[in-house]
């Protein structure tokens, strides 16, 4: 039981970390609270489902195409709605993304309807049994891909000039502008990365959960909860927060009550925030928005 719950917690925790990281890159790099991030994940699940079942594209190619499609949508959102916005107040920009999320949800319902789809697993075969727990092969692929994505992002931010420019703009936009990091360029880069992470999470999670056009808020809520846990002063917060959320969900569902999983998890998140206002990893200072 314990090992089983740990495995479930780690798998979902990694997915949440990938989703939360995309949300946080936009929040920090462009100062935008992106309510539409969950919808990007849902587009990922639905596109992956259609490619894998209707068009019979092999799994690896389907994941790749899904990620590309979600990046295009993400950049389109930024170019068509957020860039032309004249009022740059964070609250108004957040409300604008609520409009974008609602529009995307409506379009997805028009295309895919209200049906719930189940995508085929990434890797077929009998589950592996280890220490009394059975672990689906697809979940190993899922966890591996998430770890690879997080590691790749870590390298982008620590080694590449591109990543360092984004980080600089996130930490101090004024100073970054003075040394030639353009704000418009940062915003587009940030949305490319967010689309990449959301598309990947969507494609990977489609076989584990399901694909449904109305599930966007559910995903964005996970990104929020993980962010509240881990804080977003540092990007490692996404990993810590995502894992904490995944574990907490698995253990509350396993030992306390699966019906009250959602409210209990959110309750714990709020209590943590009362004592550490910028998350578990957060520093004392918090930028006023």
């Amino acid at each position: 039981m314990l090992v089983q719950l740990l495995a479930a917690g780690v798998t979902m925790g990694l997915v949440y970390a990938v989703i939360a990281l995309g949300f946080q890159i936009v929040a920090r790099g462009a100062d935008i609270f992106n309510f539409a991030h969950g919808e990007l994940v849902v587009i990922g699940t639905l596109v992956y489902f259609s490619l894998a079942t209707t068009y019979r594209v092999p799994a690896a190619a389907a994941v790749f195409l899904t990620v590309a499609a979600v990046i295009v949508v993400s950049v389109l959102i930024e170019r068509a709605t957020l860039a032309p916005m004249r009022v740059r107040e964070p609250l108004m920009l957040a409300i604008l993304t609520i409009g974008v999320a609602t529009l995307l949800r409506g379009l997805m319902i028009l295309i895919w309807g209200h049906d719930v789809f189940f995508a085929p697993p990434l890797l077929a075969g009998p589950p592996l049994v280890w220490a009394g727990a059975s672990i689906a092969r697809a979940n190993l692929v899922l966890s591996g891909a998430c770890v690879a994505a997080l590691a790749a992002l870590y390298l982008v931010f620590s080694r590449s000039l591109w990543g360092k420019k984004i980080l600089a703009a996130a930490i101090n936009p004024e100073a970054a502008r003075l040394v030639g990091v353009e704000a418009a360029w940062t915003r587009t880069s940030v949305f490319v990365l967010a689309g990449l992470l959301a598309g990947l999470a969507g494609a990977l999670v489609a076989p584990v959960t399901f694909a449904y056009a109305g599930s966007g808020f559910n995903f964005v809520l996970k990104a929020f909860a993980a962010t509240l846990f881990g804080g977003m002063d540092r990007f490692e917060g996404a990993l810590v927060g995502g894992m904490a959320l995944g574990m907490l969900e698995a253990f509350i569902a396993g030992y306390v009550s699966s019906a009250f999983r959602e409210p209990l998890v959110l309750g714990v998140v709020i209590v943590v925030l009362m004592f550490r206002p910028s998350g578990l990893l957060g520093g004392a200072a918090l930028r006023v928005t």
Binding site: R86, L91, A94, G106, L107, A259, L273
Partner: protein, 323 residues
């Protein structure tokens, strides 16, 4: 004392709705529009005027509705008792929610209020016995005052209308008061407000609590107007609708909240032919308004009218010389 008459004029025109139509359908749509106008007024106080990124509006609305619904169906409590209980509870919850608002700001406040809102609906959904579950609560009595029962649609409509007038006038007076100025200073500059001796803790907790009271009052009216409540009416979609109302009408503008609520409540009626397109239209409209009229409809109209009244602008040096 300067009264702005725009909002009251609109409300007086709405009092004539029962003269124009006796269809229960039209009166229900009109009554709901007025109820949402009260919610939007409360949401505008905390979000637009005080500038706090709070997204728990639907939960406050639902708290008022569920409190009176449960007390009047399960305990047969009279409305002169359930109304104050609903209002006091909304005040206290608003007060409690203000504490995270003191600790966290901006992004984190938005996250916490959304979490609170989500906890509200999921707890109701999971407790069919105690809170009616996903099915909701039926059999809520209509408005009662002494022997008088508002059984007819028209009577219910007038009760809700009176509530909207009360909410509008009281909020306008409140904003013209000393407290109103303090709340506005929260939006403009917290540091500036503190430097002139404003107690931020008190100002914020009171702004949250009072905005909660308006939304809870709307919830009370909703429960007895519709005589039915269910958790779907108080979820994230409702919060999005309320936020859209405030933004479309005009952030921080009291008449704006009223106009936004009325427009967005009537819009679905005009779009009934396009079933299934609602989210596309709502989302598209919200984006369009924010991009084209970021100030909102009412403040934009107001500045257009002011410019017209002032006549064509005269450039310095090209006008008449002073005698």
């Amino acid at each position: 004392m300067r009264w702005s008459h725009e909002g009251l004029t609109i409300l007086l025109l709405l009092a004539a709705l029962p003269l124009a139509t006796s269809s229960p359908y039209h009166l229900t749509v009109g009554g709901l529009a007025l109820i949402f106008a009260i919610v939007a007024l409360g949401a505008n106080l905390i979000m637009g005027i005080a500038g706090q990124a709070s997204f728990a509006h639907a939960a406050f609305f639902g708290l008022g509705a569920y409190t009176t619904a449960l007390l009047s169906t399960r305990y047969d409590m009279p409305q002169w008792a359930t109304l104050p209980i609903s209002l006091v509870l909304s005040y206290l919850v608003g007060f409690a929610l203000a504490y995270p608002a003191l600790r966290v700001r901006g992004f984190y406040l938005a996250l916490v209020t959304l979490a609170v809102s989500e906890i509200f609906t999921s707890v109701i959904n999971q407790l069919p016995g105690a809170l009616g579950g996903a099915e909701g609560i039926v059999g809520i009595p209509p408005f009662v005052a002494g022997r008088w029962v508002a059984a007819a649609r028209t009577a219910k409509y007038f009760v809700v209308w009176a509530g909207a007038v009360l909410a509008y006038v009281s909020l306008e007076r409140l904003m013209a008061s000393h407290f109103g100025r303090i709340v506005r200073s929260l939006r403009d500059s917290e540091i500036g407000a503190t430097s002139v001796g404003i107690n931020l803790t008190r100002a914020k907790t009171r702004a949250f609590a009072i905005s909660g009271v308006y939304m809870g009052f709307a919830g009370f009216l909703y429960a007895h107007f519709m005589q039915y409540v269910s958790p779907t009416g108080f979820g994230l979609n409702t919060t999005i609708l309320i936020v859209s109302m405030v933004v479309v009408g005009g952030m921080a503008d009291i008449t704006g909240a009223l106009v936004g609520a009325l427009l967005l409540s009537l819009l679905p009626q005009l779009l009934r032919r396009y079933v299934g397109l609602e989210p596309v239209i709502y989302g598209g409209l919200l984006i369009l308004i924010l991009l084209v009229l970021p100030e909102g409809i009412v403040p934009t109209l107001r500045s257009v009218l002011r410019r017209r009244r002032a006549g064509p602008a005269v450039l310095p040096g090209h006008g008449e010389l002073p005698a």
